[in-house]
Subunit: 253 residues, 2 copies
Amino acid sequence: MTNRSTGSNPPAPLEGDAHLPLYRRLYQTIAGRITSGDWRPGDALPAELDLARLYGVAPGTVRKAIDELVDDGLIERRHGSGTFIRRPNFDNMMVRFLLYRDPEGREIMPASHIISREIVPAPAAIAQHLGMAEGEDVIRMVRHRHWEGAARLLEDIYLPPARFRPMIEHSPEEIGPLLYPAYERLCGQLVCFIEEEITILDATPEDAALLGLKDGDLVVAIERIAKNASGQPIEWRISRGEARRFRYRISVG
Amino acid sequence: MTNRSTGSNPPAPLEGDAHLPLYRRLYQTIAGRITSGDWRPGDALPAELDLARLYGVAPGTVRKAIDELVDDGLIERRHGSGTFIRRPNFDNMMVRFLLYRDPEGREIMPASHIISREIVPAPAAIAQHLGMAEGEDVIRMVRHRHWEGAARLLEDIYLPPARFRPMIEHSPEEIGPLLYPAYERLCGQLVCFIEEEITILDATPEDAALLGLKDGDLVVAIERIAKNASGQPIEWRISRGEARRFRYRISVG
DNA sequence: GAGTGGTCTAGACCACGAG
DNA sequence: TCGTGGTCTAGACCACTCA
């Protein structure tokens, strides 16, 4: 059988090489419609049987593609009501690890101060992380996060201008305290995956001064690469904070 | 259809409550045969169609159970040759994070010194982690790991005697430098899952002395709970090392 | 070539959520 | 009550490994 659309429209095309499994190509197609903003967080996907008809594949093939999208956290099933695009929430993640709490023990939303935004030539390491050429223009943003009356977290953030020009054109007030919602609202960019590397090292004199640390104190440095639904890197950042009281949980299968 | 064994033996029983999905019960059944030592690392599982016949379920149901066992790292598929029990390798994990290398940059297998082994009443927190009652007997083992001529990692390890009595009956030479292989070899216990929590804190005077740190230096403390194939906790440990140069990578979907 | 997992199909029936 | 996802079945054919 070469075409199983039962008398109705011809099937929609799938992304990806024809030699890839259908469920892989369907995964990429759905991820691409999230990346493009065609489907946005909160939206419902078509029902599985509708997707099967739409793309001309069997229901079991749709199910396998959706299984993997759910595993990767891009979408979410709600039994009886449908399948929905997720909005991951990474922006406030680091604050949790630094274990600061208000007097009642609740988590704090720290104040956010954008110190500078400029376009600079991409250093080699950052260009590589972002899939750009060395020396190509890149947006560099410095941000400090404050709580308990002092700077606690220093962030250097690098963004490709092709996707993120609005981040230098809008005022800090329009951007607000959380970056990832601003990326989505102002630039149509959705962060879906992150990879981090944690290092403990000696504070530089500048960082020590900004964080109120003594000479010889240690900082925790968290390097992060953030990717969109299609797995393309869209942000690189390094954050530094006081190492003491840092805490992190992981589980490995 | 109530019984689909085609004229041959009746199906083998599945673990778990009858109201659970068949693929979940099959997952638990296979995990249980790993825990019990019935199937050991390196062994091949029966072919998927044989498992389907053995347990009286459809091939697709076997496939879904095996998919999840593979996702959880308990088994491994090799296309064309079979499905095999995996042997996870966690024991040396922490050493990687501390970034010590020999002069040629290779990873080091640090020397391992068992300082003490004793049976003590379980403190409340440890009893809870191990699913025991407070005050019940627990094995406490202290181990130091050395490289570059000094102690670099201090480990306090707690084990339930019901599973691990051989660990106090055998000599340190019989145990060898790696604990998890010794658990498997001497006690028939296989570690399949771990959860860790990393904290940076001030060194206690004793830890500072043992690690050669100055007063006020920081240590990284890694608390770990290790579980077998059935998800039962079988070991709790806390390891401390110098915080400086600590490094950790994670990715979050 | 025999046996294995990998992909894909085409359904049936159940459990859940919302109107 | 209807539409959704959740489970389960029963096969076909392909791709890979190894003797």
